[in-house]
Symmetry: C2
Subunit: 210 residues, 2 copies
């Protein structure tokens, strides 16, 4: 039988799919779904267009593969919001993790933002249900903290939106962030300063005063 050996067999396939996905992330992020041309993805990944179609049968298939991969690695930053932690510590870690993630995965972050702005056309019901459920879990944790008197009674859903929005901004809207901060480009310490400002302001805003 001609089945290639497990390891090397998967290697070519995986390598090329990874190249395509990687190029796709960059270009979908910059151009959105409708604006992206398969030929451009092909060029950026160094493969002929027909080869791209050998692995993915349509533009939509590439796009949804990216979205799926992205959502899978998405929940990670939220793991810090857990009931065992003190809110101050939890939010601090969350903000830091979120900013680091978006900084190191700018294209992914923008692609997701783009998808949402364009109406979340390719987020499945299941995807959205998942988002809702993850939010619910963390809302419950915050409600627990409020009930325990560890936090002021702030609406947890709006609070999460504030955090999400503030942390996404630096990567998603980098050109504006750059202008607002008067920097030629954002570097690690700009993200650290952002984390500090967001953390300090939000914590003072939600914790009982000492």
């Amino acid at each position: 039988m001609a089945r290639a050996a497990r390891d090397p067999e998967e290697r070519i396939r995986e390598r090329n799919m990874r190249l395509i996905i990687k190029a796709g992330i960059e270009i979908f992020a910059r151009k959105g779904f409708d604006g992206t041309r398969i030929a451009e993805i092909a060029e950026a990944s160094g493969l002929p267009k027909a080869n791209v179609y050998y692995y993915f049968s349509s533009k939509e298939e590439i796009y949804t593969a990216i979205i799926a991969h992205l959502l899978a690695s998405w929940d990670d930053a939220l793991k810090y919001i857990s009931p065992e932690r003190e809110p101050a510590e939890a939010f601090k870690l969350y903000i830091k993790a979120k900013l680091e993630y978006t900084r190191k995965n700018m294209a992914e972050s923008r692609l997701f933002a783009s998808e949402i702005i364009q109406g979340a056309r390719f987020l499945s019901r299941k995807d959205r249900e998942h988002i809702r459920q993850v939010t619910d879990t963390h809302v419950a944790v915050v409600e627990g903290w409020i009930a325990a008197g560890k936090m002021l009674p702030v609406d947890p859903r709006h609070l999460f939106i504030m955090l999400w929005a503030s942390t996404q901004f630096y990567s998603d809207f980098e050109p504006v962030a750059v202008d607002a901060l008067k920097k030629p480009r954002l570097k690690a310490d700009d993200y650290e300063k952002a984390a500090a400002t967001i953390t300090e302001t939000i914590l003072r805003g939600i914790l009982r005063q000492p």
Copy 2:
């Protein structure tokens, strides 16, 4: 001479250009620049495609006309950040105005977000210089408040980013906001609740405690 009478002459031109711009805002917002088809704008504005080209000589011209119009009406919400006001009052009004504006001009807001995410390709140097300058002015106001001991020493640039990000989110990323808030769609009182939460949290975060 065949020059039409000022008033009615301008009326047709203006009406049609307005129709095109209006349709353009919706579609550019949903599809981004590259993803938008002139034929779609034509259809949405109820005019034949050739008629669209009678008023605008290219896709880019429609797009930049929209951006220009948008930036012009952009500064308004920031007028509340002025040195005569007390910070508490100023930020409260600013947050309210910004949320109201984005709610009532969702498509514009998304179009701008889309433009930024896609790299701000059509923002001119002048546009960006303008943004920088407006920011500087308001940063100076905040610095004045800090120097006067009316506010805690919060980095004003990061603070403005927090405010901008938090207020934009509800319109730009509505599908996620809807899921996070567990509402079928956002209504006026969701925006009011958002304004209240953002205002309360931020104010506690930046004002000296009484």
